[in-house]
């Protein structure tokens, strides 16, 4: 298909762009296969706006006389308005944008066409391999092994080709266990707590069904993570009733008779459309024009967003607590094990593992616990808060995770190497990006799409020193402790950086940010000079000493 077919009017002049907190700008609008480009002709302050079509969540058009107005609502929550003279131009442009922003085929997405203008110092596609992770693990314990049982994605389509499992369980057993778990997602290692050797595993629900099926290999697998005589916890992210109902559909939960060394805790985390509705309500409240404090608070509460945050943080703390305080191993799952499960395991690692609070470590966590673990990004992030379609697989699961990280970040402002901008960046790229990282729903799909060969990885770009410097937290001080956030509602706050980002004057924030980066840069220069001078001094002193010696 040619994009040109979809673009009936590639260019319109005298278009006026309106954005909150910015003066209206007149300029030219151009449509390309992947971008909406607006450039102003003002001599003094020429500016261009490049908007990816895939970032557009919804588009409205209306007319006053022959002046058409298009309101574009983006997945990153910004809203812009374009006044386009001429009814036909406006209609054409609107329908083109609509078509281009809702392309069906993944291979038509921008990442397949994007050619980077920067040198690739390190290929992000191979920056975070599970093998490296396993090497680290092997240096502290030999109880685990890498298994290639899923090499062809045949045992579990949503798992990566290699996974870490207990050493005592062979691939044959894994195949059997896979048949006993929803979607083949057998229990694998998510995190190993070096401090006390406890492990966190994740999986999907066991397929016990109504007649209480059991699987000896599954029991053996989960028990293999326990020290002798110790117990473990199964954290089920569904309420007990839901878990029981799941049996009727072939699912179920670990029954005590068959898993006597395990105790189940049901910690309910909302999923899918409930989250999506909450997201939509919250964004509505944030875009609301009324300023009354009381109404704002009611609306914020009515969205339930912060309640979801609180529940999720609570579940993550619970998992972390079982591991760190109770000295027990943990198995986390819900139904499919691709959403709330991953939220819990990844947040627990933020709490427990200082490495996950570094930039590199956090990237590795995203790759390991989200991308490789098979969170269906493409489905979940297909639409954002302005979507009209109510498709049931869309949900801000990843955004919710990022916000929880932000909440912990806010409570421990010095314990993270990255800053808020980094989290916002990940949010943006999960929804629309020039990079291939978040395309596809799992490693299997990514392999089929040949993403590593055909697209650029987000990490290749982010990990370049000049980009990294933007995401560093100047207050960072490595903190080797487990950090326990307060999950009381009084301690939680709305993430303004995402939800009010386009509704606040940002100019000075940006300038301050620039200033900060400059200061850090300048400081580095000074440090280098100090070091050079010190060296010089040492040399001079050494020279001086020589003649003294006889």
């Amino acid at each position: 298909m040619e994009f040109a077919e979809l673009i009936k009017t590639p260019r319109a002049d005298n278009v006026v762009l309106h954005r909150p907190f910015h003066p209206a700008v007149e300029g030219t609008l151009c449509l390309t296969g992947h971008h909406l480009i607006f450039s102003s002709r003002r001599q003094d302050n020429a500016e261009e706006l490049w908007l990816l079509h895939s970032n557009i969540d919804s588009i409205d058009k209306r007319f006053v006389g022959s002046l058409g107005t298009i309101v574009i609502k983006c997945k990153d929550l910004r809203i812009i308005q374009l006044d386009i003279p001429g009814m036909e131009e406006c209609l054409n442009i609107a329908s083109s944008i609509e078509a281009l922003s809702t392309l069906d085929s993944v291979t038509l997405m921008y990442p397949f066409f994007y050619r980077p203008m920067f040198d690739v110092l390190e290929d992000g596609w191979s920056s975070f391999l599970l093998e490296q992770e396993f090497e680290l693990l092997s240096s502290v314990t030999n109880e685990w092994r890498l298994s290639c049982v899923n090499k062809e994605f045949s045992v579990c389509p949503s798992y990566p080709p290699v996974v870490i499992v207990p050493k005592s369980v062979d691939d044959e057993a894994l195949r059997k266990v896979a048949l006993f778990r929803h979607g083949g997602r057998f229990p694998v290692l998510s995190y190993y707590h070096k401090k006390n050797g406890m492990a966190m595993m994740r999986s999907s629900q066991p397929l016990t069904g109504t007649n209480g099926r059991r699987c000896k290999e599954d029991e053996k697998l989960v028990n293999a993570t326990l020290r002798s005589g110790r117990r473990g916890f199964v954290i089920d992210t569904r309420p007990l009733a839901v878990a029981q109902q799941a049996r009727a559909k072939g699912g179920g939960f670990e029954q005590e008779v068959h898993y006597p060394q395990w105790r189940r805790i049901h910690k309910y985390i909302e999923r899918f459309n409930i989250l999506q509705e909450s997201f939509i309500k919250l964004v509505e409240a944030c875009n609301d024009q009324s300023h009354n404090m009381d109404r704002w608070l009611s609306k914020l509460e009515a969205s339930n967003w912060l309640t979801h945050i609180k529940e999720l943080l609570t579940a993550a703390c619970l998992a972390a607590q079982c591991i760190d305080r109770e000295g027990a191993s943990v198995l986390v799952h819900g139904s499919e094990g691709t959403d709330s499960t991953l939220q819990v395991t990844s947040l627990a690692q933020i709490i427990l593992d200082p490495r996950c609070r570094t930039i590199r470590g956090f990237e590795a966590l995203i790759v390991r616990e989200w991308l490789q673990a098979g969170h269906p990004f493409q489905q979940r992030c297909a639409q954002s808060a302005y979507s009209n379609s109510k498709q049931k697989w869309e949900a801000p699961v990843f955004l919710l995770f990022l916000e929880c990280v932000w909440q912990i970040h806010r409570q421990f402002p010095c314990s993270f190497e990255f800053n808020e901008q980094f989290l916002i960046l990940l949010f943006e790229h999960a929804y629309a990006s020039q990079f291939g990282t978040f395309l596809g729903n799992n490693e299997n799909e990514r392999a089929k799409l040949k993403l590593p060969q055909k697209t650029m990885s987000l990490w290749s770009w982010v990990n370049r020193p000049e980009e990294l410097s933007r995401f560093q937290n100047p207050l960072y001080e490595a903190n080797s402790l487990v950090i326990w956030p307060s999950v009381a509602p009084q301690s939680l706050q709305l993430w303004e950086g995402v939800f009010l980002r386009w509704n606040r004057p940002s100019r000075f924030l940006e300038e301050a940010e620039e200033e900060r980066i400059n200061i850090i840069k300048y400081n580095k220069e000074l440090q280098a000079r100090v070091n050079a001078l010190r060296r010089r001094l040492a040399e001079l002193e050494a020279d001086e000493e020589v003649p003294d010696e006889p």
Binding site: P23, E48, C286, S298, E301, C414, R470, A488, L494, F508
Partner: protein, 765 residues
């Protein structure tokens, strides 16, 4: 105010002492003596008392002696507070002490008889209490158990506390006893410092004293400082001859003669003539005035006063009058809101409020109204160049708040510590804010209202929004709030200066104290921070982000200033090419804006025509469009998302809301180290330049304005492990909550308690 419902619901969760096998050893019998201040006497005491630390277990409880003095209740123990790594030491109060004036309510309980009673003054107690719960005004709850104590003495102590914390007369407040003792025995000094002193600085480098505005010269200096040349200090009220609720000296338009003032004064409520507060550099004055009660004279006098104010303006600008009673919530509404907030923070079982937390916060906040109104008046003075008159019934409640907020926004001097203290002296203490009634020191006033706290909260909002504009920290504001409930400082004890003179003179006569020339007794001043904290601890009052005007900044001299580069960053949405930068904010905006004042203004509120409000919108818009000058005007952001809850003040005793090893204090710590390092380097540079021969006097290097100090360059030692979001306070021992162990554990254990309580993992081994 405190319903009995709440304590009841928590009782059943307490472990009864019989079930307690953790305390194996007999309570130690040891001589435990309270530390007493001059004039402080022990009224009653009881031994073998247990102070409860956690509600879910008694294993952390402390054994000791409970003492009631005429100043405080004191719990004396040798036991160490569990899990508390840091204690911010107040020199007047021990770790377990509560000043009597800080007590809100006293509840006695007998759990075998299932009885409880709220103890008022002079009440009888028909049962022997097994338990005493003290609800404090600072939102703490302290609980004592008397299981091993003598029942009679326990009862006596409870009654004594009830009696002494609810005195019938102002002169029974401890400050009188204390000052009497000092006058009789001048040798007795608290912490080695003359207790009658004026307002000392807090050890700031300048060593400035806080002007108290008790004297002619303080007012005169303020006139000169603000350049109010057409105003004069007036002494008609010397000896409180005209009004008993005005200060002896105050400032009036030069054109008004003493004779006229005396005449007019009869028409004002409380004979409270107009008081000058402050002058804008452009000549506009801020004046506060009570209502004119004499209806016949109203117009004429009003006219005369306004004319006089106009004549004192260099541009002869008009006077803008703001009737605070009409446009701000009244003090009863504010008190009701405060009670609601307190219930949210203290009374309600925390878990139950969680789901409704945000909506329960509604209607508890009036900050927005005050900040907004003050900002509007800032506009009138700053932009319209008119003098502003704050009018209020008596002119001694809302006016205090509005007048001081306007000055904090307009004048950077009031954002320094000494300046802020002088502001409180000028606009609250001297202007006759009724601290005695509003703080309810005598516990019998229906006039209680937390206006002063509201003011501190508003200032905190500004501090939060402009962290580098204030010399003081939020710890300072919190401690200042706490100090208002220590009945030692004359500052916050009286309804007006005259009351101090009158009451203390009476007291002096009754105690045979020779006053000499002095007008009444001199009470310790709260600004004498050395009475409460060591000089090192006082450093926590300093805000590391503050850049004083006199401090040499990096931008001076040869050091490079940072150029704002206009480099553009690549970003997702903007794709490959350089993206656009934000333009300049223009007039035309079609989308609503959340965080500006603009849409919040109600034009109908202004007497002037709509043009006025339009230009006000423009003013605010322009102001927010420019970078903030921290030494100029600061205006508040007012949207719901910008007004925050002052967590350190309200939640410091709530374990659930505590973040161990975290919270904004960790950033404060890091920034302090940085600021200290910068100071250190600056000092070395100065020393090096002034004295290149390097014969060091290092004394200067030892000074630091930071509590947290850098240990030399490249210091990499982490944050101290006692830091928490409650720092420097600790919720340990505050019993409104279930558990001592802080949020995570208690919370999650409760989530998993279905089986954790029945079997423990360890038992299986």
């Amino acid at each position: 105010m405190f319903s009995l419902k709440q304590p009841k619901s928590t009782f059943k969760s307490y472990l009864l002492p019989q079930a307690d096998d953790n305390i194996a050893s007999e309570p130690r019998i040891k001589k435990l003596e309270p530390v007493l201040l001059p004039g402080e006497i022990v009224v009653n005491e009881v031994n073998f008392v247990r102070k409860c630390i956690a509600t879910d277990t008694s294993q952390y409880d402390l054994w000791g002696k409970l003492v009631c003095t005429n100043f405080k209740i004191s719990f004396i123990t040798d036991d160490l507070m569990p899990l508390q790594k840091f204690h911010y030491k107040n020199l007047l109060l021990g770790e377990h002490d509560v000043p009597l004036t800080c007590i809100e309510q006293i509840v006695t309980v007998n759990d075998t008889k299932r009885k409880q009673k709220v103890l008022g003054p002079n009440q009888k107690l028909k049962f022997n209490p097994t338990e005493l719960i003290i609800y404090c005004k600072d939102f703490r709850i302290v609980r004592f158990r008397f299981d091993e104590a003598g029942p009679e003495s326990a009862k006596k102590v409870c009654l004594a506390i009830a009696h002494y914390s609810q005195p019938t007369d102002l002169q029974l407040l401890f400050a009188f006893e204390y000052v009497g003792e000092i006058y009789h025995n001048p040798a007795k000094k608290v912490n080695g410092i003359d207790p009658g002193g004026g307002g000392g600085g807090i050890g700031s480098a300048s060593g400035q004293q806080t002007p108290l505005f008790e004297t002619y010269s303080d007012w005169d200096r303020e006139i000169k400082r603000t350049g109010a040349s057409e105003w004069r200090v007036c002494s008609v009220n010397e000896g409180y001859m005209i009004s008993t609720c005005l200060p002896e000296y105050f400032v009036v338009p030069s054109s008004l003669a003493d004779q006229d003032l005396k005449l007019y004064s009869y028409s004002f409520i409380g004979r409270r003539m107009p008081l000058w507060s402050w002058n804008h550099p452009n000549g506009s004055a801020l004046v506060r005035m009570a209502n004119i009660k004499d209806v016949l004279q109203q117009r004429r006098i009003d006219q005369r006063i306004c004319n006089a104010i106009t004549r004192s303006h260099p541009l002869r600008s008009d006077v803008y009058k703001s009737d605070l009673d009409k446009c701000l919530p009244n003090i009863q509404e504010i008190q009701a809101a405060h009670i609601k907030l307190k219930q949210l923070c203290v009374n309600e079982p925390f878990d139950e409020t969680e789901e409704k937390w945000l909506s329960s916060l509604e209607n508890t906040r009036w900050l927005e109204a005050f900040l907004k109104h003050s900002a509007e008046l800032v506009y009138m003075m700053e932009c319209k160049h008119v003098s502003v008159v704050l009018q209020e019934e008596e002119g001694r409640d809302l006016s205090c708040l509005a007048a001081s907020l306007i000055q904090v926004m307009l004048d950077p001097y009031f954002r320094t510590i000494v300046g802020f203290q002088s502001l409180i002296q000028k606009e609250w203490v001297m202007a006759g804010y009724q601290f005695l009634d509003r703080c309810n020191h005598l516990k019998r006033s229906d006039k209680e209202s937390p206006l002063f706290l509201m003011f501190l909260d508003c200032v905190w909002q500004l501090l939060e929004q402009y962290p580098a504009a204030f010399e003081f920290s939020e710890v300072y504001l919190t401690i200042l709030y706490d100090s208002a409930r220590i009945s030692l400082f004359g500052t916050f004890l009286f309804n007006c200066p005259h009351q101090r003179v009158k009451e203390s003179t009476e007291f002096a006569i009754s105690k045979n104290i020779q006053l000499g020339d002095e007008k009444g007794l001199r009470f310790p001043c709260v600004w004498d921070w050395s009475l409460q904290f060591t000089s090192r601890d006082r450093l926590l009052f300093h805000n590391p982000l503050y850049i004083g005007k006199s401090t040499p900044s990096v931008h001076n001299g040869a050091l490079r200033t940072f150029k704002r580069s206009k480099k553009n960053y690549s970003s997702t949405l903007r794709g490959v090419p350089p993206a656009l930068k934000n333009g300049i904010i223009g007039e035309q905006e079609f989308l609503p804006r959340r965080n500006s004042l603009i849409l919040k203004l109600k034009p109908d509120f202004f007497q002037a025509a709509e043009g006025q409000s339009h230009s006000m919108e423009q003013y605010f818009r322009d102001w927010f469009a420019k970078p903030v000058d921290l030494h100029g005007v600061i205006l508040p952001h007012l949207s719901g998302t910008q007004i925050k809850l002052w967590k350190l003040c309200y939640f410091r005793w709530v374990p659930e809301a505590q973040i161990n090893h975290g919270g904004s204090i960790t950033a404060f710590h890091r920034v302090s180290l940085l600021a200290d390092e910068v100071d250190m380097l600056n000092r070395s540079l100065r020393q090096y330049k002034s004295n290149s021969s390097l014969q060091g006097h290092c004394s200067e290097l030892d000074q630091s304005r930071m509590y947290f100090r850098a240990n030399g360059l490249n210091d990499t030692s982490g944050a101290p492990d006692f830091l928490s979001s409650s720092f420097p306070f600790s919720p340990v021992g505050n019993l409104c909550r279930r558990s001592i162990l802080g949020t995570p554990l208690s919370k999650f254990l409760s989530g998993a308690k279905i089986w954790l309580s029945t079997e423990t993992l360890a038992n299986e081994d």
